[in-house]
Assembly symmetry: C2
Homo-oligomer: 237 residues x 2
Amino acid sequence: MPDRHTSVSSVRVLAFDTFGTVADWHTGVSCALAQVFPELEASQVARDWRRTYAPILAEVEAGRRPWTLLDDLHGETLDRLLREKYAVSPTPEQIDAAVRSWHRLPGWPDASEGLRRLKAKYTICALSNGNVALLTAMAKASDFPWDFIGGSDLWRRYKPAAEVYLGLARLMQVEPHEVMMVATHATDLAAARSVGLQTAYVSRPDEWGPEAKLEEPDPDDAFAVRGIDELADRLGC
Amino acid sequence: MPDRHTSVSSVRVLAFDTFGTVADWHTGVSCALAQVFPELEASQVARDWRRTYAPILAEVEAGRRPWTLLDDLHGETLDRLLREKYAVSPTPEQIDAAVRSWHRLPGWPDASEGLRRLKAKYTICALSNGNVALLTAMAKASDFPWDFIGGSDLWRRYKPAAEVYLGLARLMQVEPHEVMMVATHATDLAAARSVGLQTAYVSRPDEWGPEAKLEEPDPDDAFAVRGIDELADRLGC
């Protein structure tokens, strides 16, 4: 195992997962759903919707469906969920309004200022399964000062595919170990480590709103922190 | 011809050429060359070097050489220029130092603040033949507050290839006419217009240092301005 202190000092690029790690999808999506579908229990629909996310991305990655933008997958999964579980037949406009809520998710309270502190010392990148337009809109709406936005449509691959992590390192012209992946999801971090990135775990106990989140940092994470401000503290920013 | 007023009002994304339009390559590169090769006339070498740029990019685009990052093309063209015209045999370290100067070119005096004003109303993107790492480093060094960085390695194509302009529109999820290309080079703007983008010409009479620049705006440019601050004025930012 590499010396922790030495390896962290080699980091030049910080790559951030966005949904859940930087942005609070449960609050943002629940608020939009409550407006679009006032008859439904918005938090429950938001969480049900989010549960369809990993499986449909995995279908794309397994080659069982062609490359599809996250916006379009979001529309399809919400439409199906509403029809099958909630007996609601949404209009295209309702679906579109809900899908667009992912473009302007609010940041966690520590996100914007924490990123700004880290940006003074590191190159900070979004590295997300969101598409570039979604992530760009969210950054403008919620003041995320990214140096570069790594959206899934740059590679037409979804995390945890190795190509996404390595693709960012290549664009940044650095070695994998010079990139630290920051996320609140163990699968994302494990995949990043498996191709040589360093990792930091951010606990976000409220990611799922009222629902408890069962996840722990891994001993191989260089840091386990409670927010991006604490990551900035730990990295001396 | 489309109504000018109506079309400009449809613009949502501003795409900026960087070398010459936003950043002053002549000053930045001349200063670096003067340090690395004190025996040479730095401004002349910088201009000679820059003249090798369009031809070697055209070679890549014509398929006569495989895709190569701009950094690597820069290194190759400078090495050849120094050997053939200046009878200098540079070390790899000297070449690298000179190539790196393109990563931290200074902005024109109006660039940083002008971009900041435009960013409040538009999505502002670099759309350059520079690679992503180069453009990201330059943005940090010279305070260019890009929303998104469109480097040539995203598409592995060089402007004026249509795929670059259309590729940015696709990533931004907008129609070509919703993008305005901003540049000080008529060939860049003509290529952008030919695939449906709107265009704005920025005059940069000092782009070539002591050498006069012979270029005029085209009547089909929506704007011809003297700086990014004036573009912000014209766009009501």
